[in-house]
């Protein structure tokens, strides 16, 4: 580890008291931020200071703090999850910021993700898309031996490439249309690559796409902003796959 570096940062943080309240940016300055801190730890430090001053802390979502649960959802300097590629906000470290820098922090912004408080949003729409068809219908205890159906390694690896989606919603936040196509496409792609997913293939894609529209997510216009911000590198081919699947399902 390089020796400890301290930097000063100015923060502009979105504060909003509740779903109906009017939001605004509030400014804070932290004089001594250790560059080995994670971004969320920096917010912890700020919140500790606010509470020592008997003020209300900033609300933000987080849980695993290692980039896998998909809870954290900060737009940092205009970019979902901030400046580092393939990095969720919780894995971003302060060493990527300059001394004296001003950092703006906002929540995901999308009609389908209403703000609950400050930086916390409601992402239940994702669960409803999954519930519409993001599964293979197999009841507990009805499964054949796991090796009964061989799956080629490339197919299985490709399914895994899509299965790693953490469901954070950065793709929606980055999209000018607030489309959830990358999220939905990833699940459709994973399950369509596996023989187990075949029986419900058509039904699934139609149900999931319909639900996505019902939730108020926009269409995909191929901006590819989603791919650029995805912390786990889901490829935009997921969307192409979903379209092909959809067309096949509707026509056949």
């Amino acid at each position: 580890m390089s020796s400890t570096d301290l930097i000063k940062v100015h923060l502009k943080v979105w504060r909003q008291d509740g779903p109906q309240a009017k939001g605004f940016f509030e400014d804070y300055t932290l004089d001594e931020v250790n560059t080995h801190m994670s971004f969320l730890e920096m917010l912890d430090v700020l919140n500790e200071r606010l509470m020592k001053d008997k003020k209300e802390p900033i609300e933000f979502d987080h849980d695993c703090r290692e980039g896998i649960c998909g809870s954290c959802n900060l737009v940092i300097n205009g970019v979902p999850h901030g400046p580092e590629m393939l990095t969720a906000a919780c894995q971003l470290h302060m060493r990527h910021f300059k001394d004296g820098e001003t950092i703006t922090i906002e929540p995901w912004r999308a009609t389908a993700f209403p703000i609950i408080k400050d930086l916390v949003v409601d992402r239940n729409a994702f669960d409803r898309i999954m519930s519409a068809g993001g599964y293979i219908s197999v009841s507990t205890g009805n499964a054949p031996d796991a090796n009964a159906i061989p799956i080629s390694k490339p197919d299985s690896d490709s399914a895994m490439d899509y299965a790693v989606c953490i469901g954070c919603g950065a793709c929606v936040a980055a999209c000018p249309n607030s489309s959830a196509s990358l999220f939905t496409g990833a699940k459709v792609s994973q399950l369509s690559r596996l023989p187990q997913g075949a029986p419900e293939r058509k039904k699934r894609v139609i149900a999931m796409v319909d639900q996505m529209e019902k939730e108020g997510f926009g269409d995909c216009s191929n901006f590819a902003e989603c791919e650029a911000v995805c912390p786990v590198g889901i490829s935009i081919t997921a969307i192409a796959n979903m379209r092909t699947e959809y067309v096949k399902a509707v026509l056949g």
């Binding site: 003020k55 695993c64 703090r65 649960c69 470290h93 299965a163």
Partner: protein
């Protein structure tokens, strides 16, 4: 059951079926009372938690026709802490043809737990392990495969066979997403309602039986009542009592602790797993610790400088001035000794002043020789994602510099006491997954927690809950019952009290202070003096908390710090119980190391004559001493031996 020592009685029936261990589960299943399919829809079941245990249980019970309400803290069931598990899940498939069997998996797990678990439970776990893999594959879990299309395996610590199934470094994520998808399917069918951001704060009992819960809606702050015919606690482990751990930030003990206060015995609370390979603490602001998978010890060599306080750059320390202490002390197992042994030795060398890094609380895990032997590409292929994660966090390149690692709290083997049906001592209240105590004894083997969570949820509870429900009339208690009034009043008052203190210290101040006491005195090595001090210090800290904590905001809004305050309040009670449990168990076993009980070489010394039991604690009041009960452990199939890795 009466134990030889008169002081300890055990008046609960663990319901372990008679007969040979291989037959117990099938016999039991045949004898379980059944609920008529058309009656199932009359029963309401609450499942608290949507990790591997909760999601699999809720989905499976919904499929059977019960009405299920599932609850979780996060904004989606998919975000439960199980999502973070990396390494893999065990099963006795013997796909590698290396002689694996249910018996061997059973044997290894009992031995790995240092003979402090129940044979019957562990055998059942091994027995259902294969069905778990089948189920997950059918759901579309993309486990790693061979080119021929069949599933592949890797080996994990504590086993001499290759029986671990995995999905890259994200096995927990893929298993949880499988269970979550089953849950989403049940949600669509209307059999399961999922309440996200809704935290259980109390259990409601009527005549001693579980009849519902009180929860808080974490978005609006509203206190809600839910009645049910049975309550399943699938709320995970309590490692965060140490403040710093590899657990997710929201992991907590509240649900289990509140049930303990309502009569559920808490078993082996002090049995904690401290994982040897985690990224060390870098500063005061540290909020959690990150695990580096155990698999790294297959190729990495652990060392510290021979000299005390040697501040040289690691690459400048010549070979003959390095102490590869695990290889030196344990020539036959070397770097692959079990977790408890590796962790304790890291602490010893650091205590000697030979630790490395800025804080001196770290040892090296060095891949230099493996890279020389196999090439950088081979190492990248095996561990690339872990090396990247390490690089991201520390800004050091582990291909060029040895990793710095240190032990961290990772898993809690203790939990609510359950019988063979997974029912606690409160009738109608069940505990599944990490929240119960049943299968891992004093030390959990790698890749067995995922197995246990899914075994409990998919393959045990759907059967065993029938035994209780068949004798319970459905829907007897509704939320207008006086018991709900009472419990709701208590919890509302507790919240008002916390908000009214407006003290000078933050919740985090208290949590950190508790964590330090726990780590120093109830951590990797424990002794009588330290444990007694810990009890006194925790009691004092608890008092201070209730007079000087600052909890911001209001009750009826989203308020993360209020949630946090309630959890820390419970940790402050649990911590004391853990110290008491560690104090009473004067032997060393698995992750529990008592300085007073060591072999002449400084290894853990078990005392089977006096401590071959489960310690199950009964709550007697907030400031009253709890009472210990002892369930004797009987070993009919496995021979007890002192573990040796030399």
């Amino acid at each position: 059951m009466e134990v030889a020592d008169k002081k300890y009685t055990f008046n609960w029936d663990n319901k372990i079926p008679t007969g040979p261990v291989e037959k117990k589960w099938s016999t039991h299943k045949n004898n379980i009372k059944l609920v008529n399919p058309s009656n199932k829809r009359k029963y309401n079941i609450i499942v608290v938690g949507t990790g591997l245990a909760g999601a699999s249980a809720a989905a499976s019970l919904g499929e059977l026709g019960y009405n299920v309400k599932a609850f979780c803290i996060q904004d989606s069931a998919r975000r439960a802490h199980s999502i973070a598990a990396q390494g893999g899940i065990n099963a006795a498939k013997n796909y590698q043809n290396d002689g694996d069997s249910i018996w061997r998996l059973f044997y290894d797990t009992v031995k790995g737990g240092d003979y402090r678990s129940r044979e019957a439970n562990v055998y059942r776990l091994a027995e259902v392990s294969n069905s778990i893999i089948d189920q997950c594959v059918a759901q579309g879990v993309p486990f790693a495969r061979e080119y021929g299309g069949t599933l592949t395996n890797r080996s994990f610590g504590g086993a001499q066979l290759s029986r671990t199934f995995y999905a890259r470094g994200q096995t927990g994520q893929q298993l949880l997403l499988g269970a979550y998808s089953a849950l989403m399917k049940s949600m669509k069918s209307g059999k399961v309602a999922v309440h996200t951001r809704e935290e259980m704060l109390e259990l409601v009992t009527v005549d001693g039986e579980a009849k519902g819960i009180i929860s808080r809606n974490l978005v609006t702050g509203k206190i809600n009542r839910h009645a049910a015919d049975a309550v399943l606690l699938c709320t995970g482990g309590y490692g965060n009592v140490f403040y710093l751990s590899t657990n997710a930030k929201n992991s907590n003990v509240t649900a289990a602790w509140r049930c303990h206060r309502k009569g559920a015995l808490f078993a082996n609370p002090s049995f904690t797993q401290i994982h040897p390979t985690c990224i060390p603490v870098s500063g005061e602001y540290q909020s959690k610790l990150t695990l580096m998978s155990e698999s790294l010890r297959n190729d990495g060599r652990v060392w510290v400088p021979k000299k005390v306080n040697d501040k040289r750059h690691p690459n400048e320390i010549p070979e003959d001035e390095r102490d590869y202490y695990l290889e030196r002390i344990y020539p036959s197992f070397g770097n692959l000794v079990p977790r408890d042994v590796a962790s304790r030795n890291a602490k010893i060398v650091c205590d000697e002043g030979r630790g490395v890094g800025e804080t001196g609380l770290a040892v090296y895990l060095d891949f230099r020789d493996a890279i020389k032997r196999d090439g950088e590409d081979a190492i990248r292929d095996r561990y690339g994602n872990l090396f990247d994660m390490y690089h991201k966090i520390t800004d050091d390149n582990p291909y060029k510099l040895p990793m710095r690692i240190y032990p961290a709290v990772h898993y809690t083997m203790g939990g609510l006491w359950v019988d063979y049906n997974l029912m606690t001592t409160v009738p109608g209240l069940f505990a599944l997954g990490e929240a119960n105590f049943s299968d891992h004894g004093a030390n959990r083997l790698g890749a067995s927690a995922l197995m246990q969570g899914l075994a409990d949820g998919y393959f045990v509870i759907p059967y065993t809950i029938g035994n209780y429900l068949a004798e319970t009339k459905p829907g007897q208690i509704t939320t207008d019952h006086a018991a709900f009034d009472q419990v709701e009043k208590e919890i509302t008052e507790e919240i008002s009290k916390l908000l009214s203190i407006k003290g000078s210290k933050t919740i985090l101040d208290f949590h950190r202070q508790l964590g330090k006491i726990m780590w120093d005195k109830v951590g990797m090595s424990r002794d009588e003096d330290g444990l007694k001090q810990a009890i006194a210090e925790i009691q004092a800290l608890r008092k201070e908390f209730w007079t000087d904590v600052f909890v911001p905001g209001k009750a009826a809004t989203y308020n993360k710090y209020l949630e946090y305050a309630l959890r820390v309040a419970d940790f402050l009670e649990l911590g004391e119980l853990m110290a008491r449990d560690a104090l009473e168990r004067k032997e060393s076993c698995g992750g529990h190391f008592r300085l007073e009980s060591q072999t002449p070489e400084g290894e853990a010394k078990r005392d089977d004559e006096n401590y071959s039991h489960v310690s199950a604690w009964e709550f007697k009041g907030k400031d009253a001493e709890p009472v210990e009960h002892r369930e004797p452990l009987e070993f009919e199939n496995v021979k007890l031996t002192q573990r040796s890795y030399k």
